[in-house]
């Protein structure tokens, strides 16, 4: 019975293979696969251009075209300032915090966009970029990182989430002398819609924003030590870092922040 079934099936199948449409089908499949791969390269290219264009707009205080790089429901979080919800709030944040649109005499605020690592989701609808801004300004030097998300809407890529934690900010005296610890929600106007996702201090403290992609060689995912909300005093895993978790804290790890200043 078994043999007979296979025999019949083979009979049915054989002429089909002999007619060689299999070859044509494979070409169509190959073409479809090629389209996907080319589209992926184009998409990675597009989101890199978006991020670089964002930088060129920041350099010259072009807030309106900058906000138009974002989706309507985008979120923006820079430094320790908290989260701004939606495209209109992205524009409001920029214009209130940094002044109206247009270049300003006496102001240099270059946010040079370097070292981007783009990725595209398997369905081609979502993208991510890890990148850095190298800030050269009349105020001094700055080093934000980015772990941003992008969305393809009607064939056009837009920024759907900008997350830009700071590594280090200093004045022209240099980071050997002074570094800003971070920004926070009420440090300057406007206030955010939501509090920061992570509370951390910048250099000389240490914070690693999680990578959107695994180690490209080992495939392992780098997991920040969330026990201390991803903020570090010293590099993770070192004895100094472990010891720092006990300094100025109660045994449960929380900090005695309720005490008023002594002086």
């Amino acid at each position: 019975m078994m043999n007979r079934t296979l025999f019949v099936a083979a009979l049915l199948a054989a002429p089909a293979f002999l007619a060689t449409p299999a070859l044509a089908q494979t070409t169509a499949e190959k073409l479809a696969g090629l389209d996907e791969r080319i589209t992926r390269l184009e998409d990675m290219n597009d989101i890199e251009r978006l991020q670089r264009t964002y930088g060129y707009f920041v350099d010259k205080s072009q807030w309106t075209p900058l906000s138009e790089l974002f989706t309507d429901d985008a979120t923006l979080e820079i430094g320790g300032k908290g989260i701004f919800l939606g495209k209109p709030r992205v524009l409001e944040y920029m214009q209130k915090a940094f002044g109206p649109d247009g270049t300003k005499p006496g102001s240099l605020a270059n946010h040079m966009q370097f070292q981007s690592i783009p990725d595209i989701s398997a369905d081609g609808k979502t993208g991510w970029v890890r990148a850095r801004a190298y800030v050269m300004s009349n105020g001094g030097w700055g080093l934000p990182l980015y772990e941003n998300e992008y969305r393809k809407e009607n064939g056009v890529w837009k920024i759907s989430r900008l997350t830009g934690p700071f590594t280090m900010y200093t004045n022209w005296g240099g980071w050997g002398d002074w570094a800003m610890n971070n920004t926070w929600p009420d440090k300057f106007d406007p206030p955010p819609d939501l509090p920061p996702t992570t509370v951390y201090l910048t250099y000389p403290a240490y914070y690693i924003i999680p990578f959107h992609y695994p180690n490209p060689v080992t495939g392992k995912v780098f997991k920040p030590d969330m026990d201390e909300v991803g903020a570090y005093h010293r590099p993770p895993g070192t004895q100094e870092q472990m010891d720092s978790l006990k300094v100025g804290r109660w045994v449960d790890g929380s900090q005695p922040i309720g005490e008023p200043p002594r002086d």
Partner: protein
């Protein structure tokens, strides 16, 4: 025949039917293939232009003026800051000697980093444009170091299958002494040389920081598609250029500038 065997046979039969179904017509495959070849060609052209420009940077860093000049097309143009325009590789080679001797020498630092590329290849694949960010570190024998930064808006042309620079236009936007920094000091640009006058005067007259000039973008807004050639920019009273698209309200210090000084 058991149900399971029937199912197997049906599966095979189905496969056979699928394979005999008419494949994508040969003409469609050819059209698809041509479209994909074009898309891959544009990506390759973009990479070639990026490599060409990065190579220019590596040559220019080290005073390899002959090698750098060879990257230009026969009618190629070189315009640096306010020095004016030099046309053709022979004139460009001479003009570069204004930056130091061939291969420089002891005490020279001439780093011109070519970064943050947004390259746009024309649909016909014959020309391209590129906007680049150019941080600079300089030194000359007997002088203190200098920081500088600017933008490139370059034109490229493909001749005989090889990409060449049709116009390299560097807009130096800020320059300062290494120790003083942009907070305390701003250096202006060199004008046209009296020793080797340029072939044409500067195409755009402007002053560097603390003035705030915005070179027009060679590409349109990646989301809205709008032109980025007339964005808001502070004017220049000496040049006689009025403010463009600026809020008429007097400039005051931004909330972030005040806030960032807090610790």
């Amino acid at each position: 025949m058991s149900a399971r065997k029937t199912f197997k046979a049906a599966l095979l039969l189905g496969l056979a039917c699928a394979l005999t179904a008419p494949a994508v017509a040969q003409g469609d495959s050819q059209r698809q293939l041509a479209a994909y070849q074009h898309r891959v060609q544009l990506l390759e052209d973009q990479l070639a232009v990026e490599n060409l420009t990065a190579t220019f940077g590596y040559y220019f860093d080290k005073g390899l003026w002959n090698q750098a000049a060879d990257l230009f097309s026969a009618k190629g143009a070189f315009e640096y800051g306010q020095r004016g325009v030099y046309v053709g590789p022979a004139r460009i080679r001479q003009a570069m000697l204004l930056f130091g001797p061939q291969a420089l020498g002891r005490g020279y630092l001439n780093n011109h980093m070519m970064l943050q590329a947004v390259v746009t290849v024309a649909p016909d694949g014959r020309t391209a444009t590129g906007r680049w960010q150019g941080p600079i570190m300089l030194s000359e024998p007997g002088q203190n170091g200098q920081w500088a930064v600017g933008l490139y808006e370059n034109d490229y042309v493909k001749e005989g299958g090889v990409w060449k620079i049709a116009k390299l236009h560097f807009y130096l936007t800020a320059k300062t002494d290494y120790d003083l920094g942009f907070a305390k000091y701003a250096l202006q640009m060199e004008g046209p040389s009296a020793v080797l006058p340029p072939d044409q005067p500067p195409t755009e007259v402007y002053r560097a920081f603390p003035h705030a000039y915005l070179p027009a973008f060679s590409y349109d807004h990646p989301v809205t598609g709008q032109s980025l050639k007339q964005l808001p920019m502070a004017g220049d009273d000496i040049v006689g250029r009025p403010d463009r698209g600026m809020d008429s309200a007097p400039a005051e210090e931004s909330s972030a500038a005040k806030g960032m000084r807090q610790q």
